[in-house]
Structures are given as C-alpha cells and as structure tokens.
C-alpha cells in the first residue's frame, strides 16, 4: 500500500472541509442538536426520580451519533468524487481500491473525531455526563461502534457506486434503519424474539448493552466484547469485498466513464 495515495484522499478532504462552511456545519451541528435535545429530555426525566437518565439516554445517543458520524465520514469523502464527477480521474490512476478505501477511512477518523469532541464537550459541560467515570472499559465498545460505522460506510459507498449518484439517498437513513434492532435506548430484552435474533448479529447491540451494564454498576460481558469485535472485523472484510466486487462490475460494464448516466436501474 502506498501511503502517499492514502494521504492524498485525506488531504483533498481537508482542503474541502476547511474552505466550506456547508461541510463544517453538518459535522458538528446535528450532534450538538442531539446532545442538547437529549440533555434537556433526561434533565426533565431526572426531576421525577433518583435514577440518572442522562447516563443511559444521553450516553446512548452520544455513542449512536458517533457510529453515524463515522459512517457519514466515509460516505461524504466518497461522495465528493461523485459530486465533482471525478471518477474517471481517480480510477484511471495507479491508486488501488485498498488505498482508496483506506483514504476514505482516514478521512472519516478525522471528521468523526471532531464530532466526538464536540459531543463530549456539550454532554459533559452542559449536562454533567462524564464518560471518563466509567473508565477504560468503554473504549473497546467505542472501537466496535467505530468499526461498524466504517463497514456501513463502505457498504453505502458501494451501493452508490453501483446505482449512481441519486442512490445517495439510500445511504443516509441506514443508521436509523438498524437503530431499533441494536437497542440504542432500551435493553435487548425489550425486543420481541425475531428482532432480538437480528440484534445478536449486529455488533453495536453489544456496545449498548455494555454501556447500560456499566451505568447500572455492573461489568460488561467480555465474551460479548470479543464476539462483537470479531463480528465487526468480519463485517469490514465483507464490506471491502462488496466494494471490490461492485468496482469490478463497474469496470466490466463501463459504468465508471459514464457514471452520471445512472445506467443501472
């Protein structure tokens, strides 16, 4: 892998983000709104009981927004090539698919880190939520959410590559579609059996269960952590395979040079 090519994608993204208010604002505005909305909601709920809702709901939303931002970080960097009709210039270079995807992932790390810092600041300073009190135990679960966000992002980019520019509307609601199954705001035990069966193969489920266990003063399942990490890595491999395969189809059918024609229906 040539690191210069990977960095080129990150550099391009930094050029675009730093010079554009319409790219910077969405990075921080939605997560800030979510933190404020759930911060006040939990403050209201706390007025009825001794239970600290902030740790459960606000913390869960922070984790969920983190996953969403990671996914969007990957897809946004990819969509820049869609919007500027840059596919021919990009894919006619010596850059490999692995280098391109690595560049998208690195770009996402930069943009999602910014969102995470903003969320932690608002949740901590504004509503007294501190993840630091839970210690290092939550770090592996952040990693699980990060890896899942990457896998979802790569799958989303493959879908847009296959179906054309208008298909970007398919990928924005993907996190919302899986959120009921991973138990962002409620324990998995709340779900009916068929939904729970799906939850077991979605790594974020283990992250949210772990967070709730820690908040309740217990210990998260280490077995669950290991399984979620293995599953997450497996999904990243599958996502990369899916992108590579979609790219091969695109190159075989001549989709890259006439991408904007949206010739696949």
């Amino acid at each position: 892998m040539n690191f210069s090519r990977v960095l080129a994608i990150v550099l391009r993204q930094s050029y675009l983000v730093r010079g554009s208010i319409s790219r910077v604002l969405p990075l921080v505005s939605w997560v800030t709104i979510d933190m404020v909305l759930w911060g006040f909601t939990t403050r209201y709920l706390n007025s009825f009981t001794q239970f600290n809702f902030a740790a459960v709901f606000l913390g869960a939303m922070l984790l969920w927004d983190f996953l969403t931002r990671v996914m969007h970080g990957v897809t946004m960097a990819f969509l820049e090539d869609v919007w500027s009709r840059n596919f021919l210039n990009i894919f006619a270079t010596p850059m490999s698919i692995a280098e391109y995807l690595a560049g998208l992932v690195l770009s996402s790390i930069a943009t999602s880190s910014l969102a995470l810092v903003v969320m932690l600041l608002v949740a901590t300073l504004g509503f007294g939520l501190s993840f630091f009190q839970y210690g290092a135990i939550l770090i592996p679960f952040f990693l699980v959410l990060f890896l899942c966000g990457i896998a979802l992002g790569i799958v989303g980019t493959a879908i847009v590559l296959r179906l054309g520019p208008a298909a970007e509307w398919f990928i924005w609601p993907v996190p919302a579609m899986i959120s009921p199954f991973v138990g962002v705001l409620y324990p998995l035990a709340t779900l009916p059996t068929w939904m729970r069966a799906l939850s077991y193969i979605l790594p974020p489920s283990y992250g949210f269960e772990a967070m709730r266990a820690v908040v309740a003063g217990g210990r998260p399942s280490m077995q669950g952590l290991v399984f979620a990490l293995i599953l997450s890595f497996l999904y990243i491999l599958l996502a990369c395979w899916f992108f590579q395969r979609t790219y091969r189809v695109a190159v075989n059918t001549g989709l890259i040079p006439r991408y904007s024609a949206e010739s696949v229906s």
Binding site: S4, R5, A8, R12, E80, L88, N89, T93, M95, P257
Partner: protein
C-alpha cells in the same frame, strides 16, 4: 534519462525498457456488450517520441479504446502493455507511467489549481512534488491561477490545468482525448506546441484523438482510422489521403465515416 521519476524507477526495476520497445502495445483488443461489439480485435503500438492519432467518426470505438488503456474498462479479450508492463496483471505499475487529459474529464472544480495538482501529484507519487507543480504552473501559464478554484476558470484555462495534471508524473504514455476541443485557435496552437515539446524532449509517446483534421495533420506522426470498432487505415497523415485518392485528410475522414466499405475493399 533526463529526469528520474516514479514511472521510470518503477518500470526500470520491474521490467527494463528494451531499445525500440513501444511505450504502448495493444494486441487483439476487443470489447463487446452482449452482441454489440464496440472494439473488434484491434492491434497497434505507440512508439517512443511518437504522436499517434486515433481517428474515426462518433461511435467508432475511440473512447472505448482509451478507457480500456486507462484501466477503467475491462477488455473482453486482448492485451495492453505500457512500457512492456501488462495492464491487467500490473495495473498500478502500468498506470503509474500513464496519464491522460480528456475534454469530458475536468478536474474537481471545487479545488484550486494548486490543490488539484497536489492531490493528483500525491496519487501518482511524484517525487519533489512542490518543485514539479511550480514547473508545470509556469509551463502552462497557470501561475496567476494557482489559488483559483478550477471550476471558475474558462474552458481553455481548465484544459491547461488538465494538461498540467496529465504531465505531473512525466508519463511515458500520454492519452489525449480531444484535448483542444472548445479551445480558441491560439490556445489550441499553444497546447499542440506543448505536446510536441513533450514528445521531443522526453521519453513519452502520445495517443491523440481529435476531430480537427488540420490539427491531426500538423501534430501526428501516424494515424489510425477506426470505424465500427476496427482499424480501417493506418499511415502518415500527410501522405495517407493521396494514397487513397483523396485530396485532404478531412475528405478521407468523411469517406471512412460514410463509406467505410469502399476503403476496406481498397485495403
């Protein structure tokens, strides 16, 4: 070698360049979509310091051929070698020695000229990139547009930026798909001069498509006439019309476009 670049280093280490070896060798190249044959088993070469014109009417298969050489379209059959390196099996190495400019592949308009050149320079892993960019900004008269977004430049200026990008890695194979389309005559002449200098000074060869027969006659050392996916004629653009009983290259082009069968029978 005048200037050592990533392309030269990569090729030399992997596959020492043979004297007289063409920069591009295309053998029995074919592309079909179901029953439709876009390119039908064509073979040709582009030599070092040579400019080869790929001519033909719309839909003849020129852009399909170029897309296959650029690795963005997989051939149904045949092989492509750049500096003796097989594109199918050593894509990165072959494309590291190649670059292109096409009227339909403008650079991202939301990046400045400098940002575009830096971005693509890193992708092509150009050594001493800053110096190379400054050199190209001067060569293509782009210094004053250095920090201007590419999207706000005139079409002629954008073409110059595309050409500067195409020269970043000092390609051994340069593909130009109608590079002077939509340019005024003065700018088009400057571009032709730059390309001629490129082949005269360096080690590169050029595959050039154009519908401007005056330009083709002025620039190209050799032309290939493509019709319905096949190479119909090949030769020196200055003598080819006379060899086929035509006054001008344009007249020959029109015959290729309208009555290819008469030429097939002659050849």
């Amino acid at each position: 070698m005048a200037v050592e670049d990533a392309c030269t280093i990569g090729i030399m280490s992997a596959n020492p360049t043979q004297p007289g070896q063409p920069v591009l060798s295309v053998q029995a190249l074919r592309k079909s979509y179901g029953t439709i044959v876009a390119v039908d088993s064509i073979s040709f070469t582009v030599g070092r310091n040579e400019i080869v014109g790929l001519l033909g009417p719309n839909g003849a298969g020129k852009t399909t051929t170029i897309n296959m050489i650029l690795g963005v379209l997989t051939p149904s059959a045949g092989s492509i070698e750049v500096e003796g390196v097989d594109l199918a099996s050593h894509r990165a190495k072959a494309l590291g020695c190649t670059n292109f400019a096409a009227v339909y592949a403008q650079l991202p308009g939301n990046l400045t000229v400098y940002q575009n050149l830096r971005f693509f320079g890193m992708i092509y892993d150009v050594k001493n990139l800053r110096e190379r960019i400054e050199e190209l900004l001067r060569e293509f008269d782009l210094v004053r547009f250095r920090d201007t977004k590419a999207g706000v430049l005139s079409s002629g200026e954008q073409t110059r930026v595309s050409l500067a990008k195409a020269m970043l890695n000092r390609p051994h194979l340069l593909l130009l798909d109608e590079p002077t389309a939509s340019l005024d005559p003065a700018t088009a002449r400057d571009i032709r001069t730059s390309i001629r200098q490129f082949t005269a000074k360096g080690e590169g060869g050029v595959l050039w498509t154009s519908h401007n027969m005056y330009e083709v006659q002025e620039v190209c050392d050799r032309v290939l006439f493509l019709s319905k996916g096949k190479i119909l004629l090949e030769g020196d653009p200055k003598t080819l019309p006379e060899e086929h009983g035509k006054q001008t290259l344009e007249e020959l082009f029109i015959t290729v476009a309208r009555e290819p069968l008469t030429l097939e029978m002659q050849s």
